[in-house]
């Protein structure tokens, strides 16, 4: 009897290990695919009501700045970003603002500072979810991400105000970095 039970026990161990290994192959339950499966996807209106998609600027180096009018450090950055967009106008660079705010307040602010030279998109409440998908854990603002020409996030900034110099350096370094499988572009050297 002793040996029988021992054999049974050994068989159970083998079976258990086998099944647990098998279970490892399963992977997590699949989530129902949405229309656009990229977590970075968005479709938002700008101040003129025109809709912009996340891939509108594919092929350019993009800097997306999440902000709101109730966030003083955010407002401090924006004049610098306007200057940045101007200074780098001849490079393949696009600054995009996404305001987690009401269109009315954003329009007021833009008027106050004398206009804006890059798209300002209005996200309202769902904007928090969007910043989270872009890597912002607690929804703090300002939050800025840098995307390469393929639309991949290559850098983030969330520890306070992003200065003109830092943003410029970051954009230039992405411009000049060779993409995988591409030759170094003749721009930006």
């Amino acid at each position: 009897m002793r040996t029988t039970l021992s054999y049974i026990a050994v068989a159970l161990v083998a079976a258990a290990l086998g099944f647990f290994w098998h279970s490892q192959q399963r992977g997590p339950k699949p989530v129902e695919p949405r229309e656009d499966t990229s977590p970075l996807a968005f479709e938002l209106p700008d101040l003129q009501g025109q809709i912009h998609r996340h891939d509108d600027w594919r092929g350019q180096v993009v800097m997306i700045n999440f902000w709101a009018t109730w966030c003083p450090p955010c407002k401090k950055e924006i004049p610098d970003f306007i200057r940045l967009q101007d200074d780098l106008a001849d490079r393949d660079i696009q600054v995009v603002g996404i305001a987690i705010d009401e269109a009315r307040k954003v329009t007021e602010f833009v008027d106050e500072i004398g206009g804006i030279n890059y798209p300002q998109l209005i996200a309202s409440g769902s904007g928090y979810g969007l910043t989270e998908r872009y890597g912002n854990e607690w929804g703090t603002l300002p939050y800025t991400v840098f995307l390469n020409r393929k639309g991949e996030i290559v850098a983030r900034h969330y520890q306070g105000i992003l200065t003109y110099e830092e943003a410029r350096d970051q954009l230039l370094s992405i411009l000049e970095a060779p993409e995988k499988g591409e030759q170094t572009s003749d721009k930006g050297s």
């Binding site: 002793r2 258990a16 099944f19 450090p73 769902s126 979810g129 969330y158 105000i161």
Partner: protein, 591 residues
């Protein structure tokens, strides 16, 4: 001067590092909102509410963004302490609070069931947090103190702790007592008891009262030694809870249990190393029989000199406790185990030895019983990470083993016949389970249900249709959509490694009464098996640490509101759950 200059240069060099360095900091410098601004609510005896905001250094709250709203929509404007002025470049001088904020709200102003405290703040490094809110339950608990990052989250965890306490601790502690008793009846312990009694009580046997006292002291000392082990293991488990959920860890522990079971079946001997045992034995020889101190020391030593029969079950018990991660449960359970083990000794020590059974081969049966128990525990643990079909098949195999082991060699006595009956029952159930599992309808209560195909007996057929969600954003979108449809929402958190989640799926969500009660509900499910950043964000936003949890949202005048008190955490049987839903449906129906 030179060192100061080089330090300065180093600091400046640090500032010149590229922006990418922010990724390396990875949020360590930035606090989560609950830590940057933590709210402690205290209800005084007279019903007044005190809100104490603990603001981290280098963070501040805006005075103008403080709002206190009751659930009927009415806003309270309590007196606010004076604020310091912050020169904001855009807004001008702005009143803010640093370090702490103390607000008192009189009982007279509080009405309704909840108060929501809105606040918003920023960090000096130049980021601002989204608007935060803290929900405070007002329902008639004047003297309760709930210290919490957000009021609602704490009451849920309190409820969880109470629920665990009510349902499980009693059972576990009682079972551990029973196990201790059985351990005392194993072949290596039971025959030793009279000898131990002599050592403890000395030669004063027969003097009832003091013998009782001495035996009790001995047993208590032993039980306390086990308690310490239980608490330590529970604490250790609490710290590695996340790691304990990993399938690899669970598989290893289950395999360990199988090895321990083999020890109980006599494949090998597992005990404290001989060197330690002889040392402890020498110590115990030196104790004077008949003294209280001696009895206590002997008790502790007995706990340490674990012989072959006790070692494996003890290790198993400690592993189980570490899995729960609950030091309180660990302490109580192991204390009960010690008491159970010592009960026969107390009986014999006080001269009630005549009531004790004679030593005999039945003790081996108990030892083997422990082996079976540990195999069953291994299967139960694996259930978390394997499909239910596997669990049923493994259980069937175990029952097969039991049946074979029970089979009597000769049918010559009542005992033998009883064994035959037991063996047949075990084998029949094993067969039923195996057939059921292999036919695609694995189940324990109605294993052969899948064969009949009759509509009345189809436990797995109709599944509840859950809509999967992943992020905080998804939840918001779904809640808004449901609010527009005036539809209640049930949010279920699931993970592959969550036992009660699987039990809910298997037993509760498949029940027709539950399904019909949920007929009008929007059912959402968040699968947090991966436990990635988005899963954690979703859990955190609802004040949860992980599954199991089921939340209920009802549409109201101000949109969807979660009925915090209706949250269920852990397995709820079908009938109770159906009742729970009916109660919520009744609230919906009433004007």
């Amino acid at each position: 001067m030179k060192t100061a200059l080089s330090s300065l240069l180093l600091i400046l060099a640090g500032f010149a590092t590229p922006v990418n360095a922010n990724l390396a900091a990875s949020g360590e410098d930035l606090l989560p909102p609950e830590q940057a601004f933590s709210v402690v609510e205290t209800r005084q005896d007279n019903g007044d509410l005190n809100l104490f905001y603990n603001i981290a250094p280098d963070y501040y709250l805006y005075q103008k963004r403080l709002r206190f709203v009751l659930d009927d929509g009415r806003e309270i404007t309590p007196e606010l302490p004076s604020a310091e002025t912050y020169p904001d470049p855009f807004e001008g001088p702005t009143p803010i609070y640093r370090h702490s904020l103390d607000i008192d709200i009189e009982a007279a102003e509080l009405s309704g069931s909840t108060l929501t405290a809105h606040f918003q703040g920023c960090a000096d490094i130049g980021v601002c947090y989204p608007p935060q809110k803290s929900t405070i339950e007002l329902g008639g608990q004047p003297a309760s103190q709930a210290a919490a990052p957000t009021g609602a989250a704490e009451s849920e965890q309190d409820r969880y702790a109470r629920w665990i306490g009510e349902r499980q601790i009693g059972w576990v502690v009682a079972s551990f007592f029973g196990l201790g008793l059985l351990l005392a009846l194993t072949p290596c312990v039971f025959p030793m008891i009279p000898i131990l009694t002599t050592m403890v009580v000395g030669q004063k046997r027969g003097n009832g009262a003091s013998a009782f006292v001495l035996s009790t002291v001995y047993v208590l000392a032993m039980a306390l030694a086990y308690t310490v082990a239980g608490v330590l293991v529970g604490l250790g488990g609490a710290n590695i809870q996340a790691a304990l959920q990993h399938p690899l860890v669970i598989g290893t522990i289950a395999a360990l249990f199988v090895v321990l079971a083999l020890a109980m079946f006599g494949a090998f001997n597992l005990q404290m190393p001989a060197a330690i045992q002889s040392r402890l034995n020498a110590l115990s020889q030196r104790q004077r029989g008949g003294s209280l101190w001696g009895a206590a020391v002997l008790g502790v030593l007995s706990a340490l000199i674990v012989g072959p029969c006790v070692t494996a079950p003890l290790i198993g018990a400690l592993i189980y406790i570490s899995q729960t991660g609950d030091p309180v449960l660990g302490g109580l359970a192991l204390f009960a185990l010690g008491l159970g083990m010592g009960a026969p000794l107390i009986a014999i020590g006080t001269g009630a030895g005549a009531w004790m059974p004679q030593a005999g081969p039945w003790m081996n049966a108990i030892k083997h019983g422990f082996g079976v128990l540990m195999l069953a525990t291994a299967i139960w643990m694996l259930d978390r990470v394997v499909p239910i079909q596997t669990t049923v098949l493994l259980s069937s195999a175990l029952l097969l083993g039991i049946g074979v082991a029970l089979w009597p060699s000769r049918l010559d006595s009542a005992t033998a016949r009883a064994r035959l009956a037991g063996a047949l029952l075990a084998l029949l159930y094993a067969a039923a389970l195996a057939i059921g599992a292999l036919s695609g309808q694995p189940g324990f209560s109605q294993p052969l249900a899948g064969l009949g195909g009759s509509p009345a007996n189809q436990p797995e057929q109709r599944e509840l249709a859950f809509k999967p969600i992943k992020t905080v954003d998804d939840l918001e979108v779904e809640l808004q959509a449901a609010a527009e449809r005036n539809q209640p929402v049930m949010l279920d958190f699931y993970a592959d490694w969550c036992v009660s989640c699987k039990e809910m799926e298997h037993f509760t969500f498949s029940d027709p009464a539950v399904q019909s009660a949920l007929g009008d509900w929007q059912l959402l499910q968040a699968d947090v098996t991966a436990n990635d950043a988005r899963d954690q964000a979703l859990l955190r936003s609802l004040g949860l640490f992980g599954p199991p949890a089921i939340l209920f949202y009802l549409p109201g005048e101000t949109g969807m509101a979660e009925r915090g008190e209706a949250r269920t955490v852990g397995y709820v049987p079908a009938s109770d759950f159906a009742l729970h839903i009916d109660q919520l449906n009744a609230i919906l129906a009433s004007p």
